[in-house]
Symmetry: C2
Subunit: 502 residues, 2 copies
């Protein structure tokens, strides 16, 4: 046992407690808080956020870490303590190199940028947003210069923030592989689109009944209401105070059967990850999902690989049909499965289906890479954006609102984030391929036995929190790191069958 | 403008932000949080509470305050700043005299005491609770000794915590006056109890319909949903993040029409106080109701003086009757008003009506006074409790569960609190008497015009926050401090008429 580590504990405790408070306030603002109070509550949030920032990033913590990094001290630390020290050191080094006044100016810019973006998006006025975006990017360029340790690609540093260990080199290879398969596959599907009918999805579905069914299916998939809450918000999301209090939201559309159902399954996938993290790790800096991509792999595994399969629906489709007897009486299980899996090219990432989704990501990845390699000016982004949509998806945005202005990420200063979404889909496919080999996966689904699947994910993915990276998780599980081929094979097999392409 | 005051600002900001966080977490735990997460969330709460405690009670703040208390600095402060300095000094002095180790031991005892109390109450086992209660009281006796500045009554110090400026001398006079009127009045009412029928209250009332009506009536009274939230919890309560985010809860019983309706009107009264505090004061240490009694005066004014009057119900009884047409079709407005005002002696304070309520408080006040004047041993409390119930209410508790163990306050270490409830009723009656003189009060109620009443309370009570004490508010409003006669006159008039006692 290390006495030096004990010195760190009060800082870790305070960081955890402030994090819990900020998470809850954010949840409350998205789900319940009265609109008139936001401005005042934001003042408290700002103060807590600054307090939280300085809790672990300060000279005292640095000194304790330096001591804990000596060989002698390391010998006394257990595995979790070592990982905590490593994580704190990384965060400390990433932030201490940035001059305080620049960080403050950046934070202030960030706080106003999303409003400018929202207005620009609403008015289809890219020129309004461009100067703010340019300033955000300039800050990020400076910051990654400060953080750069060797001659590696600057964009690597940003990718690493969301997918620790991932680089441009790895992701170029990954995305090229996806592109080679998906672009021609999407073209073939487009030519056969009349083969799948999903008109039943846009009938009228009573919202109260949708809610009831969605809450039920979330529990069916494994959401534990003793350790979680389901609420509503404008956009569905998952958050957690710790592994015993995990919260998801859903949203409901009257003329859309699939939106709420697959949103809630998606968020339940995220929630199961957080619920199944080890008790020893929760409330530590290692106590949540290991990366954005790993998290997205779990939500997508449940939403797509499980939730859109016929095996999953065999035991439960009758319940849905009874809930909406009028709308679904003539829709067979097979038609339902075909309908929810229909693919069509569209302009909006968040509305894209499983097949076309990655093309939206590839476009953003390629553009971000150009930005941070100084190969493009901010004013040229709309033009390049539209060209790439035409090239990969065969459609051209009719306005910047549904083009380059559609996502909030860049306005938040989140560069390097998008790639994680595609990594998530690929990891999900890889786990899917493996899990079928180690258990009677489809049979379990057909029997409504989801518990062994949850248990497998807990033991192989969830419980480790941030103790293992995405690639370490895959390697330990199946002896291989991320490989795009599992995802491309999955897509080819699935859509060839669905659209009878052979 | 004082530069020294600026030095205080970061401490005030942090105190406000942590207070906001703790308030929200508490609200969430009472209304929404999953049961399985409490233990983990409590860990975060404990850390935040300690952090919050030390934010304003520390040597740095003390030094700044000392400087701000000089004549020269005082001259540069505005009225609000002066009041903040005064409040911080009082809190600092109250706490710094208590040795840190004793305070810690007391806090630890406090944290477990409510569980011991709950178990003792459930099992009707006073002896289980007595040793804990004795230790809590011993701590409080020591603490008030430390805080005592002169030879005044020790119990004064506790009373002042909840009702700044109130003393045993004032409250002895106050309660004697109440006792002289209420005890014989209750006896007369008891002898005439068959004159009022309230059997319609315990019919079956659909909970969803109750909810809808209660939410409507809360808005009717003035609750602003743009600045507030209505939710459910085991016991109704009001809380607020600031004056633009005020939250109330309600609870619903299937066989009780009045519980939810008058609970929501009561909590709306509390909420209006907080909503109408000046923007300049909210998010400062002066930014909530000035005392427990003043707060209770507002909730009771709305619940009883307004909510139980026929004038209030004239424009809206039809709506209630339509909501519950089956149950209320044969209940006239007059019968309804008589029924909701029925008085009967009972053992439980929280279920007591407007007339008998103060007797429950007098009993607790007299016992607390004996405790802190060393005139009673903890083991004798049940005996004295039961004797007083027999003497004042004419009934004897059948067990300690419905006797001395019924309230949580003593287990929380809240001594001196109960008196505020009676002060609240008396202040409400005093405001009621005054408001009838300055506006056509009953006419406004009959016309459904509650806005001028709200406005009057805002201008005369609410907006000042803690800038004025309860007695200062009354004095500035009507030229008189608290006087029990308004309340006794009100009760005599009301119940004489209701029970036809003349």
């Amino acid at each position: 046992m290390s006495n030096t580590f004990d010195l760190l504990q009060p800082y870790l405790d305070k960081d955890m407690a402030l994090g819990t408070a900020l998470t809850l306030i954010n949840w409350d603002m998205e789900t319940l808080a009265p609109s008139g109070g936001m401005e005042y509550t934001a003042k408290a949030v700002g103060i807590l956020a600054v307090e939280s920032f300085h809790t672990l990033i300060n000279e005292d913590v640095n000194n304790i870490l330096t001591k804990l990094e000596t060989e002698e001290e390391q010998a006394q630390l257990d595995e979790i303590q070592k990982a905590i020290v490593k994580k704190l050191r990384k965060d400390y080094n990433d932030l201490k190199v940035i001059p305080a006044d620049e960080y403050k100016a950046y934070s202030e810019l960030q706080a106003t940028a999303t409003n400018v973006w929202a207005e620009a998006k609403q008015n289809n006025d890219y020129n309004k947003f461009a100067p703010v975006l340019k300033r955000l990017i300039d800050f990020q360029r400076k910051f990654i210069k400060y953080r750069q340790k060797d001659e590696s690609n600057l964009y690597d540093i940003l990718l690493d923030d969301y997918e620790p260990g991932f680089t441009v080199e790895m992701l170029d290879r990954f995305f090229n592989q996806l592109k080679e398969t998906i672009v021609p596959l999407v073209q073939k599907v487009s030519m056969n689109k009349e083969k799948v009918d999903n008109s039943f999805i846009s009938k009228h579905y009573d919202i109260e009944k949708q809610k009831e069914f969605c809450n039920w299916i979330s529990e069916y998939v494994g959401f534990d209401l003793k350790r979680g809450v389901i609420a509503e918000s404008a956009h569905p999301f998952t958050t957690n105070l710790h592994n015993h209090d995990v919260r998801i939201t859903n949203h409901f559309l009257e003329n859309n059967l699939e939106s709420a159902i697959f949103s809630v399954i998606h968020e339940t996938g995220h929630a199961l990850y957080e619920m199944q993290i080890d008790d020893k790790l929760t409330q530590t800096v290692l106590g949540s999902g290991t990366s954005m991509g790993a998290h997205e792999s779990q939500s997508r595994f449940y939403e797509n690989n499980i939730g859109k399969s016929i095996d999953f629906w065999i035991p439960i489709y009758k319940r849905l049909q009874e809930t909406f007897s009028e709308q679904l009486q003539d829709v067979s299980l097979e038609d339902f499965i075909r309908g929810i899996n229909k693919s069509s090219t569209s302009l909006i990432r968040t509305e894209a289906d499983e097949l076309t989704y990655c093309l939206h990501i590839i476009i953003r990845y390629e553009i971000e890479k150009m930005i941070f390699n100084n190969e493009i000016e901010v004013e040229d982004l709309p033009k390049v954006w539209n060209q790439k949509y035409e090239e990969y998806l065969g459609i051209t945005p009719t306005s910047d609102t549904v083009g380059v202005l559609q996502d909030i990420h860049w306005a938040c200063g989140n560069y390097g984030y998008f790639a994680s979404y595609a990594v998530g889909s690929a990891v999900a496919a890889q786990i899917h391929s493996h899990i079928k080999k180690v258990m009677p996966f489809e049979q379990y689904l057909r029997e409504g036995k989801l518990e062994p699947i949850r248990e497998f994910l807990k033991e192989n993915v969830h419980k480790y929190g941030k103790l293992k990276s995405t690639n370490e998780i895959l390697k330990d599980m199946m002896g291989e790191e991320l490989d795009a081929k599992y995802f491309t094979d999955y897509l080819v097999e699935k859509y060839t069958k669905l659209y009878e392409l052979n």
